[in-house]
């Protein structure tokens, strides 16, 4: 009897022991904390990025690497978890304003980047070689408290803009081509828009409304144009906050159908409302699914003419992260072949350029040879030197659609500003947001 009982315990214990024994041993471990659905998950021909990297690392160093890949839902949740130490990743992928906040609070390590000559070290050679010059300039324009630029603390991973996904059968491109549509009193506009239930993004729409005269007065040919626009864009003094609050309350009572963060890209396809404030990647997702479902078959994407937000997500290394290993991974995903695979599955725009990338973009969007009605887009500002020149011709019927959402022109991007963290004004903006929600 006794032996039997002993066996009952012993067998599962032994089984568990052997299971543990069978678990793959590894020499090094890399914890990556990224957004959900933000990496290539593998297909018939190619292994998933994580597996490919483990393979690559083994070939390079002979060491067995284990990547622990985890995902988060919002910047703020990720920030709180790292701050409170409940997760200790080696590599994270926050958005621009969050990188800024974390770097200023001393939560990040520097990359091997030389601020003086603006070059990355050997360990990040792929980004040095294939990173778009345009994106690098955008990043160096943001200075942190320690006088370093954002590139010191982050390597860009994806970027996009914010505009309206809209139903072209209901609204014309002109009607939603301005932020003023949110304050249009005509009955056609009533309850036809959704805004983000995220105060940092929706705040921006109010800024463009209350300072519309000041923005219109800016000279677009001024080389300082973007810097001046960005200064207005990031204003958050008490008076501005109050005015933005009043403007948002006014919009809420007339044009806004809904505040949402993730339901919008489905609602717009279902036709719940006719325009959805969306990030470009979500817009591409909505346009694709509308085409598949043929309901309403076509959706377009418009960036308001006053300007908008251009956002970036970048790799950063938290304090105490394994810098050497993290840089190795970042360098790996910056390889154009790998970056193309990831971009193909994610849908946002990669800052990596190079022939493999250019080929992919042509493959997706370029008009057929015999297509007559086309328009030319010069992307040399973004792609630099590529085989056959960086000009692409797109069918005119595709204007305002996926390609335009993914690769805005230089003209458009000149009007797109990067967000700053609200800093010490955070609480006041929060109170304003509570006031808007309760109005």
């Amino acid at each position: 009897m006794k032996t039997k009982r002993l066996l009952m315990f012993a067998i599962p214990a032994m089984a568990m022991g052997s299971l543990v024994g069978c678990a793959p041993k590894y020499d090094v471990k890399l914890i990556i904390y990224n957004w959900a659905d933000y990496i290539f998950e593998g297909d018939d021909e190619n292994p998933k990025t994580i597996k490919a990297f483990e393979q690559y690392y083994k070939e390079k160093t002979g060491l067995v690497l284990k990547v622990d890949y985890r995902t988060f839902a919002t910047n703020e949740i990720m920030y709180t978890q790292i701050k409170e130490g409940s997760i200790k990743p080696d590599l994270i992928c926050p958005s621009d304003y969050m990188i800024q906040k974390m770097a200023n609070e001393g939560m990040l390590q520097k990359f091997s980047y030389n601020e003086a000559d603006g070059k990355y070290g050997e360990s990040l050679k792929n980004f040095e070689d294939y990173g778009s010059q345009f994106i690098k300039e955008k990043f160096t324009s943001v200075k942190l408290n320690d006088n370093n630029s954002l590139l010191t603390y982050a390597v860009p991973y994806f970027w996009g803009t914010m505009g309206f996904t809209y139903n072209p059968e209901y609204f014309t491109a002109e009607e939603v081509g301005t932020w003023e549509c949110l304050w249009n009193k005509e009955s056609k506009f009533s309850n036809q828009f959704s805004l983000k239930d995220s105060m940092r993004d929706t705040y921006v729409t109010g800024i463009f409304h209350i300072y519309k005269d000041e923005i219109a007065a800016l000279d677009e040919n001024d080389p300082e144009y973007n810097a001046k626009l960005t200064a207005i864009f990031n204003r958050c003094d008490s008076e501005t906050i109050k005015k933005v609050g009043d403007a948002l309350i006014e919009a809420k009572k007339s044009t806004v159908n809904k505040f949402e963060v993730d339901a919008g890209k489905e609602d717009i396809v279902k036709g719940v409302y006719s325009a959805n404030l969306a990030w470009s990647g979500d817009a591409i997702f909505a346009m694709d699914s509308a085409e598949e479902l043929k309901k309403p078959a076509r959706l377009n994407y418009a960036l308001p003419k006053e300007g908008s937000n251009v956002w970036f997500d970048g790799w950063s290394i938290p304090k105490n992260g394994n810098k050497e290993l993290a840089e190795e991974f970042v360098n790996f995903v910056c390889d154009p072949e790998n970056a193309a695979l990831i971009m193909d599955s994610v849908g946002y725009t990669s800052p990596i350029v190079g022939d493999a990338m250019w080929e992919l973009v042509n493959d997706w969007y370029a008009a057929e040879e015999d297509e007559e009605d086309t328009y030319e887009v010069d992307l040399s500002f973004y792609f630099g030197e590529v085989e056959g020149g960086a000009t692409i011709s797109i069918p005119t019927s595709e204007r305002g659609r996926q390609f335009d959402a993914q690769y805005p022109t230089e003209e458009v991007l000149k009007k797109c500003c990067m967000m700053n963290d609200f800093g010490s004004q955070q609480k006041e903006v929060g109170e304003m947001w509570a006031r808007v929600k309760s109005a």
Partner: protein, 280 residues
């Protein structure tokens, strides 16, 4: 003798020890979180003591507006729920219509479906209906009305069941006697049936009032994110504004209101017992 006494003592100890898991559970999942909420409400995000949050919350007009709206919605929902539930419960308690209690199951059945899914389905259905009939979406144009509709739909079973239970216990002889003695149906209802169901009405009212006070999903879904009640305000303080200290204060306010409503319920049921309105 000593043997017996020892055994008794040890048995007593064993019984007492059965409550340990419950006690531990209560401490970890009720008492400690409550203290944390109180602690957060008295500190700022750096963990220093900070009492200004309390002042800020209660000097801003919008918080009072939110609390007021929460009350309005909760009271309106409770009244509508009872008005609808009362005749339904009355019919259900009549054995002629409700053989084998099958009809009761029909009213409880929706509760088997996930709450969020049910609310979203209701939202789409109501909007579709209003779009076709009146050419606007209820939840977009009148988000508060949409929220009340959603709350009534979701909490109706909570009003029906206590009323139904109470009505089953009603003494049918008294109703018949009143009618035999010449009372018309109105008098029978107001003088006989209604007094007998008062405890049911009170428990139905608390069963709907308390969850509507603390509800969050319904307002979010049926109000298109445009209705601010205490539940949604706490959610935006946690998820959008990232101020758990202010959220804690609001949680305490909500707790306080729910506590008050419990006291009120106790007060009413006590009074009923004293006056001996019940017949059992």
């Amino acid at each position: 003798m000593e043997e017996v006494a020892r055994r008794q003592r040890s048995r007593f100890n064993f019984r007492a020890s059965l409550s340990i898991p419950f006690f531990v559970f209560m401490v970890f999942f009720v008492v400690v979180p409550l203290f944390l909420i109180v602690y957060f409400s008295l500190t700022d995000d750096q963990g220093h003591f900070y009492f200004d949050n309390w002042r800020l919350i209660f000097t801003a007009g919008d918080k009072w507006k939110t609390i007021g709206l929460t009350f309005e919605i909760a009271i309106l929902t409770t009244i509508i729920c009872i008005l609808i539930a009362y005749p339904i419960a009355f019919i259900l308690s009549n054995k002629k219509f409700n053989k084998n209690k099958i009809l009761v199951y029909f009213f409880v059945l929706p509760m088997w479906v996930n709450f969020v899914v049910r609310t979203m389905a209701l939202r789409d259905m109501v909007n579709e209906m209003f779009e076709n009939l009146f050419n606007f979406q209820l939840t977009a144009k009148y988000p508060v009305a949409g929220t009340v509709v959603g709350m009534v739909y979701d909490y109706l079973p909570f009003a029906i069941l206590p009323l139904y239970n109470q009505m089953l216990k009603m003494d049918k002889n008294q109703i018949e006697a009143a009618a035999d003695l010449g009372a018309n149906p109105f008098i029978v209802f107001f003088k006989v049936i209604l007094p007998m169901t008062v405890p049911g009405i009170i428990s139905a009212a608390t069963m709907t009032f308390m969850p509507t006070m603390s509800s969050y999903v319904v307002a979010e879904q049926m109000g298109n994110g445009k209705v601010s009640i205490i539940g949604t305000l706490i959610e935006s303080y946690v998820n959008t504004i990232h101020d758990k200290n202010a959220a804690s204060i609001l949680s305490l306010v909500m707790l306080f209101i729910i506590g008050i409503s419990l006291v009120v319920e106790k007060f009413f049921t006590k009074k009923d017992e004293d006056r001996k309105v019940g017949i059992w």
